[in-house]
């Protein structure tokens, strides 16, 4: 025994002696490089994240802090920011100021995306009237929506910190205007898990011809395990890209392949304990189950005609209406968070399509019809009781007409505005027929019951049964929250 140790030592000693500086530098190319690479790829994460041995059962067994009033969310994000002054915030005083120069007091110390010098005020470009039993004031641009106002809480005094689309969308959806934080849907699925083992807990549908300006980060999982990131589905072609089998490969072979990969990954996890390996395993398994579950849920051909008429859906196309119907089908199947983005609300008035008097009514029609149908359809299925529907943009629009480049434009448009914009919510335990918050005479500032973006996030988490101050995740050396370091639950809108 001892002789063998001597031999080994002898061997090592000799080898060291024969190793030269040249050997060392030669090996550096791969040796030191791979250490650096390991650091870059975040292999040291094991030190901070506690491994969750069975990620799937962990996801299913998550329980909220207190009894929730909403079990799932459909978030309808109108990317580009619709104009509150033509939809929800009626300002007769602003009509009187139409065409007059904007007073300096509204411009001093403010940053605008495009307005230069002294712009002109722009009166409301739509007619308004009180609707429903509650008398909520809504514009003629939303005739269908006017029939469901008694199920809706309208917040008129939202405000944000960011006046450009991408950062404002990130702030709204991830709690921070910069990249890298998990989105609201990721937080919610991380906290509450999924109710359907065959579908992801967080699904995303995009319409309007473009992804939101902030890109896919608005449904990213940030520092949370990537199993919580939103899965984007399409209503045209393959619902989820790269989930179906390649030609010549049948389900059995696919299953064998995935089993083999997962076997290797399990060994990998046993050796290194990196939770991202678990994520990878569960994603492979989920992807396999999604091969049947996704095409089934995404195929709207089996819906009866009157449902198609109600939403204005056309199977096989990409539209907000199709996405609304899909959202209902997904929450019916137990998906926790369905996020819709509809692009094309950025009415600056530099083209007819982007004008408030022509473009906006055209843009509104199908959206109005579909979002109203969604509320009614959820209601008749008894889903509106515990499904929260949220609608809104990332900021509002100025009471002044945009004068991009310092000149007058032939079309009526408004610039980005952070101080006041509307968000409405329906179902999931919020009040019906309730208008919250007051803006000033021209809709520039909130003057009573202001709601910051972080307050909205705190309220949404509260409705889901989560305390936004206790709901944290340890990453990069500290605990993080969706609401960063602020946010107050708006308890007055809760029924």
């Amino acid at each position: 025994m001892s002789r063998r140790i001597d031999l080994t030592n002898e061997y090592q000693y000799r080898e060291m002696q024969s190793r030269t500086r040249r050997h060392f530098i030669k090996q550096c190319t791969t040796g030191l490089g791979s250490i650096a690479l390991g650091g870059l790829l975040g292999c040291d994460r094991n030190a901070t994240v506690k491994p969750e041995p069975d990620l799937e059962s962990y996801i299913r067994q998550q329980v909220p802090h207190f009894a929730p009033s909403a079990k799932r969310i459909i978030y309808l994000h109108m990317a580009g920011a619709p104009s509150q002054l033509e939809l929800f915030d009626y300002k007769p005083e602003l009509a009187k100021l139409d065409g007059k120069d904007c007073p300096q007091s509204l411009l001093e110390g403010k940053k605008f995306a495009f307005i230069q010098g002294v712009p002109k005020m722009l009166g409301p470009q739509a007619a308004f009237s009180p609707r429903g039993n509650s008398g909520m004031v809504v514009s003629d641009n939303l005739p269908h929506f006017s029939s469901v106002v008694d199920d809706v809480t309208l917040i008129k005094t939202m405000h944000t910190d960011q006046f450009n689309h991408a950062p404002a969308q990130l702030l709204l959806q991830t709690g921070s205007p910069r990249l890298g934080r998990p989105s609201m849907g990721s937080w919610v699925t991380y906290g509450l898990g999924s109710e359907n083992e065959d579908l992801p807990g967080f699904m995303v549908l995009v319409s309007g011809g473009n992804t939101p300006d902030a890109g896919k980060s608005v449904w990213g999982s940030g520092f949370l395990p990537s199993v919580y990131q939103g899965v984007q589905c399409r209503s045209e072609g393959d619902p989820v890209l790269f989930v179906s089998n390649p030609s010549g490969i049948d389900g059995g072979l696919r299953k064998q392949t995935i089993d083999a990969i997962n076997h290797i990954n399990e060994n990998e996890y046993k050796e290194f304990g990196d939770p991202e390996t678990l994520t990878r395993i569960s994603q492979y398994e989920m992807a396999y189950r999604m091969q049947t579950s996704v095409p089934e849920v995404m195929d709207i051909n089996d819906e009866p005609d009157y449902i198609h008429e109600m939403y204005g859906t056309e199977p096989g196309k990409t539209s907000f209406a199709n996405n609304c119907l899909l959202a209902r089908r997904l929450v019916e199947k137990g998906v926790r968070f369905v996020q819709l983005f509809d692009w094309g609300w950025d009415m600056h008035g530099v083209a007819e399509r982007e004008s408030l008097d022509n473009g906006l009514p055209i843009k509104c029609k199908p959206v109005d019809k579909a979002m109203t149908a969604l509320i009614k359809d959820l209601k008749q299925r008894g889903l509106l009781d515990d499904t929260l529907v949220v609608w809104g943009g990332e900021f509002g629009r100025t009471p002044m007409q945009e004068n991009r480049g310092g000149k007058e434009w032939p079309y009526k448009g408004r610039d980005h505005h952070t101080e006041a914009f509307p968000v409405w919510m329906a179902g999931g335990g919020v009040k019906g027929g309730f208008t919250f918050g007051e803006t000033d005479e021209i809709g520039y500032y909130g003057i009573q019951d202001k709601v910051h973006v972080h307050d909205l996030q705190a309220t949404i988490l509260h409705l889901m049964g989560m305390d936004h101050e206790k709901f944290t995740y340890f990453a990069q050396g500290r605990d993080f929250r969706l609401t960063d370091v602020s946010g107050k639950v708006v308890s007055k809108i809760i029924a």
Binding site: R60, P64, M310, G312, K369, G382, D385, K492
Partner: protein, 452 residues
């Protein structure tokens, strides 16, 4: 530390004693100077401040004395010096305790030591025990608004800084006279106008604002409390009028009701869920989870359970087992789109605390609904897409807490639903919508159900 270091096993602490004494003396001096500056502002009660001030000054003197004597003793350890050192050390400790205690009384109110003592300890110490929570008002109409409603709110949220011994901003709020007097910026309220009252203005400032009251970090007024304060001021800020003598709108009335009964505005179901239920057998729950059955806690702070069953589960048999294992805990049950039959509803009828039942798109019939007759807390019942008819509704009309019934896509007729809603006026029946295409962009979607 001095005493400890005399024992052999802690002798290694000895060299630190002098340094700690020096550090203590210097920081005491600094603290005393800062304290004297704060006292200049004159926001504090004279008596308490006098004791705290002089205890603090003496503490500083003795701290330096102790340090000096310690130094002397190290150089020339005579018996006299040793005794003097011990004497000053003990006196210094005494003043430290005194200054600390009175300082605490100044900042947190004179009852800070015993305020949060557990009741059993209070009894041992001979301090009177007060009933938990705010005192409930027995006769609301006869209650004097200021005495019974407003003063207790101020007592709870304002008076720890605005009282007889501490008057931040030169404001005291513990009696009628001083409240009227106001603070260094004058009156704090404008009788008849809450909007113009300094007190209310500050309450509504953002939490981070320097002038926000109560200050950041102190417990804040609730929305209801703010509403009551505003109401009292708007109604003239009277100190002797009774509740019945003041005008109150519906919002205020709703809040007032909670003062005599905290559950006044809650439904029977809300009260049941808030009360909670008995604990269940964790092992049994885990057994179901391991079987792949979705039995889950409703939340982390109570023992309520929610159950979701799927098409793959043998629902009727499972419900039988669940009704035996968790009869009092299951409050949400979701058996939609499963193989549930009328047989399974027998077990459902045994879940006495069931508040939400989703049984849509199953083969349930009228006969099955008879088993639900005893579900006294059932609030929401989803039966859309089942085989129920108008006859089945009769079994449901007696359910005292049923509020929402979903019967779209069933044999339940419009007439049947209308008749049912007339009998059971609190229940809203949803029969879905009639859809009428007008043109490609307009559609008329009208509810089929009648309103009550």
């Amino acid at each position: 530390m001095e005493l400890l270091s005399r024992k052999d096993q802690f002798s290694y602490l000895k060299p630190a004693v002098g340094f700690v004494l020096a550090l203590g003396a210097l920081s005491a001096l600094l603290t005393a100077i800062l304290g004297l500056m704060l006292a200049q502002a004159g926001d504090y009660g004279e008596d308490l401040l006098f004791i705290h001030k002089w205890a603090g000054i003496l503490l500083v003197l003795f701290a330096f004395g102790t340090w000096w004597l310690h130094f002397q003793r190290e150089r020339k350890p005579t018996l006299q010096i040793k005794r003097a050192y011990l004497g000053t050390l003990s006196l210094m400790m005494l003043f430290l305790a005194g200054a600390g205690h009175y300082g605490g009384s100044l900042t947190h109110g004179s009852t800070y030591l015993t305020q949060y003592m557990p009741d059993t300890m209070k009894k041992l110490a001979g301090i009177p025990v007060q009933a938990k929570g705010p005192k409930l008002i027995e006769n609301l109409d006869e209650a004097v608004v200021y005495v019974d409603i407003i003063h207790p709110i101020m007592e709870q949220r304002c008076n720890s800084c605005h009282n007889s011994s501490k008057k931040k901003g030169d404001l005291q709020m513990h009696t009628q006279e001083v409240l009227m007097k106001g603070g260094e910026n004058g009156a704090i309220f404008e009788a008849g106008s809450a909007a113009e009252s300094e007190m209310i203005r500050r309450v509504h400032l953002e939490d981070n604002h320097d002038d926000h009251m109560p200050p950041k970090g102190k417990s804040q007024l609730t929305d209801d409390q703010v509403l009551l304060l505003e109401w009292w001021i708007n109604e003239g800020a009277s100190f002797d009028k009774k509740v019945a003598e003041l005008q109150a709108d519906d919002e205020v009335k709703t809040v007032l009701l909670t003062l005599s009964d905290p559950n006044a505005n809650k439904t029977a179901v809300e009260i049941l869920l808030a009360e909670g239920t008995t604990p269940f057998d964790e092992e049994k729950l885990n057994a179901y989870v391991n079987e792949g059955i979705a039995v889950k806690r409703l939340s982390n702070e109570d023992n309520w359970l929610q159950v979701t069953l799927y098409r793959k589960d043998s629902v009727d048999a499972l419900l039988g087992r669940l009704a035996i294992d968790f009869p009092d805990q299951i409050t949400w049950l979701d058996v939609k789109d499963t193989q549930l039959t009328d047989e399974g509803l027998v077990a459902v009828g045994k879940l006495k605390s069931l508040t939400r039942l989703r049984a849509e798109k199953t083969t349930v019939t009228d006969a099955g609904l008879t088993h639900l007759a005893g579900l006294n807390f059932l609030e929401s019942l989803n039966l859309y897409g089942t085989k129920i008819t108008d006859t089945g509704l009769e079994h449901l009309s007696k359910l005292p807490n049923l509020r929402r019934l979903y019967a779209w896509g069933t044999q339940v007729s419009k007439e049947g639903a209308t008749k049912f809603m007339e009998e059971a006026s609190l229940i809203e029946v949803n029969l879905g919508y009639e859809v009428n295409m007008i043109d490609s962009l307009t559609v008329e979607v009208k509810p089929i159900a009648v309103s009550n």
